[in-house]
């Protein structure tokens, strides 16, 4: 099941990717001459299953993740920020520290969507002195809504913008970065598509 020029390509994008990057990826695939590029947005576990089963030709998934049986490209780091309520004391601090968020709940993607990356973020927060409860927020929209309500913080790959009630914190950009990889089946003839996505991710990586 290989996408032929002028045919179709189904790509998967983890919900953790920002909208802008998803559209950049779709644009890059379209320029490869595909008549139809369709995109599936889902959790990493769902996308890995979709690529294995042939429902997707390739996908950008979180790292770390279980990708056994698939070819996985190099790890690329993408910028990710802490998002907090705009009126929270951490938003007014020149040097915000993670323990300042201890009065908030962490709005995080459901653990079942990729236990490995969920646990990695949890361990990072705990290592840096923050151990709080979590509530599931399936995507960036849900995270921002929970944050705007004043009771939660979250992590987001959406760059700082004019979102009422939400402030972005520039904290530990390398440690907090979202790690992603492109996965494909070993027998899938999608090399040119992988190269196109790889160039997009490379340009957007944390330097």
């Amino acid at each position: 099941m290989s996408p032929a020029p002028g045919g179709s390509c189904t790509g998967g994008a983890t919900r953790a990717l920002p909208d802008r990057l998803v559209t950049l990826c779709v644009t890059a695939l379209s320029r490869r001459g595909e008549a139809t590029v369709s995109t599936r947005s889902a959790s990493t576990v769902e996308l890995v299953d979709a690529v294995r089963s042939g429902m997707c030709d390739l996908a950008v998934v979180e790292h770390p993740a279980l990708t056994e049986g698939l070819d996985a490209g190099p790890v690329v780091k993408l910028r990710r920020w802490l998002v907090v309520p705009a009126d929270h004391r951490s938003a007014r601090s020149d040097r915000p520290r993670l323990p300042m968020l201890s009065d908030l709940t962490f709005a995080a993607p459901p653990r079942a969507g990729n236990p490995a990356s969920f646990d990695a973020v949890q361990d990072l927060l705990r290592e840096r002195g923050l151990d709080v409860d979590t509530t599931p927020a399936v995507d960036d929209r849900a995270v921002l809504a929970a944050v705007a309500a004043g009771t939660h913080f979250g992590v987001s790959t959406s760059p700082p913008g004019a979102v009422p009630g939400v402030a972005w914190l520039d904290w530990a950009p390398s440690a907090l970065a979202l790690r992603v990889r492109i996965v494909r089946r070993a027998d899938a003839d999608v090399g040119v598509h992988v190269d196109a996505l790889d160039r997009v991710l490379f340009k957007e990586r944390v330097r």
Binding site: L66, E68, V75, A112, N114, A116, D119, R181
Partner: protein, 316 residues
């Protein structure tokens, strides 16, 4: 009402445990010394990396050499730790030379996974003796290609580092996603979970070694100190866990015999490969214990002459 409710099988539950821990898992379990030969397998016929579990066939080959009269178990060996493979436990962690009997060196290798002891013992008997034992027991898919020193040397080369410490630090880099030979059963010492439980069954049934060596091997394996993997699934009074762990980078393994009083011993082999490269992952260690508990529970059965009668847990 219950007609439409589907209960997950033990295999389903074990797969879910591995997925929840963020690891790929392989498991095989079998009741030992039971003609009914009850077993459970989750990808148990696939080849997997042994890591320090290779010390088990090495240990049993040492016992076989003693049985054959080719080695004196109480013979003394002088070991200089600084000449040995580094490691956090046993002789490998010592500062000064020591003199020990061969069987104590073997016990240190098994009970605390002493890397220095393993390389000394491998130097004493060689891989040929290990291969002879494996061949005699029909374990054709188990292969020992060298000791810990060989694996560490290749790691240093493949990670382009200068020392073992630097190599292991490189392996834990979250951004690297290493694919080193130590993770690939085609290039390093490897086995299948099914062959590991067959090996343990041979020891527990008494068909692999002399009665004296069988008792010694069982006693040493019961003395392993690590409680965080298979033993964590059986925190019950009177249960003995005779095991051997193996760990390198993302690989976490253990093979063991679980002995409930008055019941058939059950051999279980669990091999995992984690998605995360962190050097310590308690969630995966605990998953090994939980998967082993699910597998063993399904295979438990009373010994035929046990006056306590049949166990309600029998389901195999």
């Amino acid at each position: 009402m219950n007609g439409g409710v589907r209960r997950d099988t033990a295999v389903d539950r074990i797969r879910a445990v591995f997925a929840d821990a963020g690891c790929t898992g392989w498991l095989h379990a079998r009741r030992c010394a039971d003609p009914r030969a009850a077993m459970l397998s989750v990808r148990g016929d696939e080849r997997v990396v042994l890591a320090s579990v290779y010390k088990l066939p090495l240990f049993l080959a040492f016992c076989a050499e003693v049985d054959a009269g080719r080695l004196d178990a109480s013979g003394q060996l002088r070991i200089v730790p600084s000449d040995c493979t580094p490691g956090p436990t046993g002789i490998a962690s010592f500062r000064d030379p020591v003199t020990m009997s061969r069987r104590d060196v073997a016990a240190s290798m098994m009970t605390v996974s002493d890397n220095a002891a393993a390389d000394v013992l491998l130097g004493e008997i060689g891989t040929t003796a290990v291969e002879e034992l494996l061949t005699r027991l029909g374990l054709t898919r188990t292969r020992i290609v060298g000791g810990t020193a060989d694996v560490y040397q290749r790691l240093v080369e493949e990670t382009d580092t200068r020392t073992t410490v630097e190599a292991f630090r490189a392996l834990t880099d979250i951004d690297a996603a290493w694919t080193v030979s130590a993770y690939d059963p085609a290039y390093t010492s490897a086995t299948t979970p099914e062959e590991m439980t067959r090996l343990l069954e041979a020891v527990w049934s008494g068909s692999a070694l002399s009665p004296e060596s069988t008792a010694f091997a069982q006693q040493v394996m019961r003395a392993q100190i690590w409680p965080h993997r298979i033993a964590s699934g059986f925190p019950h009074r009177g249960v003995a866990i005779a095991g051997k762990t193996g760990t390198i980078g993302i690989i976490r393994n253990e093979v063991a015999v679980v002995e409930f009083p008055g019941e058939y011993p059950i051999a279980v082999a669990v091999f995992t490969r984690a998605a995360r490269a962190d050097p310590v992952l308690p969630v995966v260690d605990a998953a090994i214990g939980e998967a082993a508990r699910i597998a063993v529970t399904g295979l438990r059965a009373p010994l035929p002459d046990d006056p306590a009668g049949p166990s309600s847990a029998e389901s195999a």
